[in-house]
Amino acid sequence: MRALVVDDSRAMRLLLEQLLRQAGFEVTDAGDGGEALAQLGRMGRPDVVLVDWNMPGMDGLAFVRAVRAEAAYAGLPLVLVTAEDDAARVADARAAGADAHIAKPPTPQALLQALQQLALVAG
């Protein structure tokens, strides 16, 4: 299983990478949405993408919309990771095409729950 982690904070990327590796994933990362789109082109289709919402350049919501506009990535599981966990933001994320969301700070339990929801790990 392979995951792509997208966050402008290197510290948060490391934290998410550590959690994903504990769940059995190989992890690649990117620092913003534009870099992540390029990374997708290089690495091929991962099993899941975890993407931060607030980033300079292309933010997480724009990245989700860009991925959903590409037929090659149809059905690619996208998880928004955000410090803003209110209902309006979650609704915006779902409307853009995100499959799940995780509130910051991410915990092993929240990540596992999202991966289970996406049927990427056993429940």
């Binding site: 904070s9 510290a11 490391l14 410090a83 803003e84 966990d85 700070p105 915990t107």
Partner: protein
């Protein structure tokens, strides 16, 4: 509008989860002793959340987040870690504010707060490993411009 006890409870929780070290409210702790980051809040409530931190504590937090020794932490790593902590604390504090609003990007507080910042509406000081840090909310008298 926002209770100091709620701020303390939330910050202690977030700090513990992210840094992995306990933080306790400490009204006697000095407020601004080292690097500081701000994150703007726009929407029904407009203002800034500011996290200021003792320099040694900022390096300790960065060391824990990056999995390196404190003495090897760079300024970039310190700013990255403190910026992300400010983002997470700001996002969680936003849930205590009235109405719907959104966060901007964290920035370093260099020569004082952005000009748009108004009065301090809430301030809470903490200690972690005996070292001080503080969280403050500044309201804005006028709406923040996009990209602020």
């Amino acid at each position: 509008m926002i209770e100091r006890d709620d701020v303390c409870r939330l910050v202690e929780h977030v700090w513990g989860l992210v840094v992995g070290l306990g933080a306790e409210a400490a009204p006697d702790a000095p407020g601004e002793t080292g690097p500081a980051m701000h994150v703007p809040v726009r929407g029904a409530w407009e203002g800034y959340v500011v996290v200021s931190c003792d320099r040694e504590l900022a390096r300790l937090a960065a060391a824990r987040l990056f999995g390196v020794a404190s003495k090897t932490v760079t300024d970039d790593q310190t700013n990255d870690a403190l910026g992300e902590l400010t983002n997470i604390i700001g996002g969680n504090l936003k849930g205590l504010l009235p109405g719907s609003s959104s966060l901007g990007l964290p920035g370093v507080v260099t020569a004082g707060l952005p000009a748009a910042a108004g009065p301090c509406l809430a301030h809470a000081a903490f200690r972690c490993e005996g070292l001080p840090f503080a969280v403050a909310l500044f309201g804005c008298p006028a709406p923040l411009a996009a990209g602020t």
